[in-house]
């Protein structure tokens, strides 16, 4: 992942959100010779939970992208001494994405605005694997234009996977990853699964997760050592192994068996209720 250097802080853009991301102009060089640079959205997260949120972002964004889903363009953002002092944060590396103005915040309100509902099914499978706790929260899905009538889905925020940043930092991630429960998703998830061919859609989504799971090592290698330290996580490989094991249980987690027993009439009845 590319590294950029924080040059100018344009202020917090989402004061309502937990990590209060800032709009920051970043340059490619440490001496900012091409200032003011390019706009990024940067999480200047502090403390052990903050470091865990950054770890979660880097690993899970990489894994979701490895499964072929749409993600934001991630960067390591270096906060130099002057920038860090002025912002009252620790000097060092943070996580940011290139700022985009060609999107709107999701979640999508209805199925028919999506160009490819399969993206929602896939994202649910990934979130269930990664134990993401807040995908349906405003802004954690962004929507970009596919055509005049439809959007494409972007997985925009991965800071609360592993049962949440707090769980990752405190060790409760073990329980979160051991639980066989699927992640939350949009209200029309069932409809999307049916529209995409039910079992076919779920099987394809699981295959994508399995394909991404092969890149677990590369995803974990991306995380700077200092983040693990700040988050108080001494043995990251335990998390990696737990994720690998969870990928193997994904059929159970997604309760694929239930979908095998359903036919179209069952669904229509359930949906009408």
């Amino acid at each position: 992942m590319e590294t950029v250097y924080a040059y100018r802080d344009d202020g917090c853009i989402a004061p309502w959100s937990r990590w209060k991301p800032h709009a920051v102009l970043c340059t490619e060089s440490a001496d900012h010779r091409e200032r003011p640079g390019i706009g990024h959205v940067v999480k200047l997260a502090q403390g052990s939970d903050g470091a865990a949120a950054l770890i979660s972002e880097v690993i899970c964004t990489r894994l979701i992208a490895a499964g072929g889903l749409n993600v934001l363009d991630g960067r390591f953002v270096m906060a130099g001494p002057a920038f860090a002092t002025a912002n009252q944060i620790e000097e060092g590396r943070y996580y940011g994405t290139v700022r985009r103005f060609d999107v709107v915040d999701g979640p999508p309100e209805k199925l028919d605005v999506l160009a490819d509902p399969r993206e929602i099914v896939d994202l649910w499978a990934f979130d269930s694997w990664l134990a993401t706790i807040d995908r349906n929260t405003y802004g954690n899905i962004l929507l970009e234009r596919a055509d005049a009538e439809h959007f494409r889905v972007i997985a925009a925020d991965q800071s609360d996977c592993f049962g949440g940043a707090g769980a990752l930092a405190s060790g409760r991630w073990q329980a979160a990853l051991a639980k066989n429960s699927p992640a939350e998703s949009v209200a029309f998830l069932q409809q999307a699964i049916f529209q995409c061919g039910r079992l076919l859609a779920l099987t394809a989504a699981i295959e994508r997760v399995e394909q991404a799971a092969q890149q677990l090592d590369q995803a974990f290698d991306l995380v700077p050592q200092e983040w693990w330290k700040r988050a108080g996580i001494p043995r990251p490989h335990e998390i990696r192994d737990a994720l690998a094991a969870r990928a193997r249980r994904l059929r159970d987690i997604l309760r694929v068996g239930q979908w095998e027993e359903l036919d179209d009439d069952d669904f229509r009845g359930a949906y009408l209720l």
Partner: protein
């Protein structure tokens, strides 16, 4: 000090669309107007038939519709995401919060004050003056003609619509409505001074009336009805003065001076017909 007729206050906010990748160019695409005391709320964003410079329907309408759905949904639930407590959509705090939520392609301004007295009448002109969707000349004229007819009531029947009158150099001038009496004629024209093109429209109107006047120096009375922006937000006062000064027309605000407009039109019809005017 307060009185029993304490004034109800209103706020408004403007929805804008970011049209470039750098987030530097924005275009107004909607307006919200509300009052906490009333309570009263209306918001409108551009639709399929509204055309705006820099807004490409094929590319942008999808985003506008999405945000409109979201805001409607939040308003119905009274619970926008991340709200610290349940809020009503006609409260300033609700719109302040939504202002902070919309940070990408479509945004909404912070609440702004407006001295609005009749929100039902003033919302349309407020939308026109801020968003200023381009309408064809025909669309605008038809809209305005309908408003004027509605305002005139019974006396509208005395006026013929789209009447050609002789103008400067013998060339006919088509006016919105005209009444030809035994002793002169009365012309009713209209202009939308809340529109983005208010200046050009008023210049065109003055020119048109002067051409009529040139061919009919006496016995010709002009009445002009105009759509105003709420409390002159569009800076139209000077245009009203210009129309009056150059043409001698009696000029009325189509929202606030409806009764005066109807009365004046009636009196002028009677005068043109040679009858005594109403008291």
């Amino acid at each position: 000090m307060t009185t029993s007729e304490e004034r109800i206050s209103f706020k408004y906010a403007v929805f804008t669309l970011v049209t470039d990748d750098a987030g530097a160019v924005t275009v107004p695409v909607g307006v919200a107007l509300w009052s906490t005391q009333s309570p009263w709320l209306r918001f409108q964003m551009i639709g399929e038939n509204d055309r705006l410079q820099h807004v490409n329907h094929n590319e942008h309408l999808l985003f506008i519709r999405h945000v409109q759905d979201q805001v409607e949904h939040w308003a119905a639930s009274e619970n926008p995401p991340y709200a610290p407590k349940p809020m009503k959509p006609y409260e300033d705090g609700w719109w302040q919060h939504v202002h902070q939520l919309l940070i990408h392609r479509v945004r909404v301004s912070e609440p702004r004050a407006i001295d609005c007295s009749d929100p039902n009448e003033e919302f349309g002109p407020l939308f026109e003056s801020i968003v200023g969707p381009f309408r064809t000349h025909r669309e605008s004229r038809t809209r305005l003609a309908g408003q004027i007819q509605d305002c005139l009531g019974n006396v509208a029947r005395c006026f013929k619509a789209r009447q050609p009158l002789s103008g400067y150099g013998g060339r006919d001038v088509k006016v919105l409505r005209a009444h030809k009496g035994k002793f002169g004629f009365v012309v009713i024209e209209g202009v939308n001074l809340a529109a983005g093109q208010a200046e050009a429209l008023s210049d065109a109107l003055v020119s048109k009336l002067l051409r009529v006047k040139a061919a009919n120096p006496s016995g010709c009375e002009f009445v002009v009805a105009y759509v105003s922006s709420p409390h002159g937000l569009n800076g139209e006062a000077v245009l009203v003065d210009w129309i009056k000064e150059k043409t001698g027309a009696r000029v009325f605000d189509l929202q606030r001076e409806r009764e005066k407009l109807r009365q004046t039109a009636t009196n002028l019809v009677w005068k043109a017909d040679g009858q005594a005017t109403l008291a």
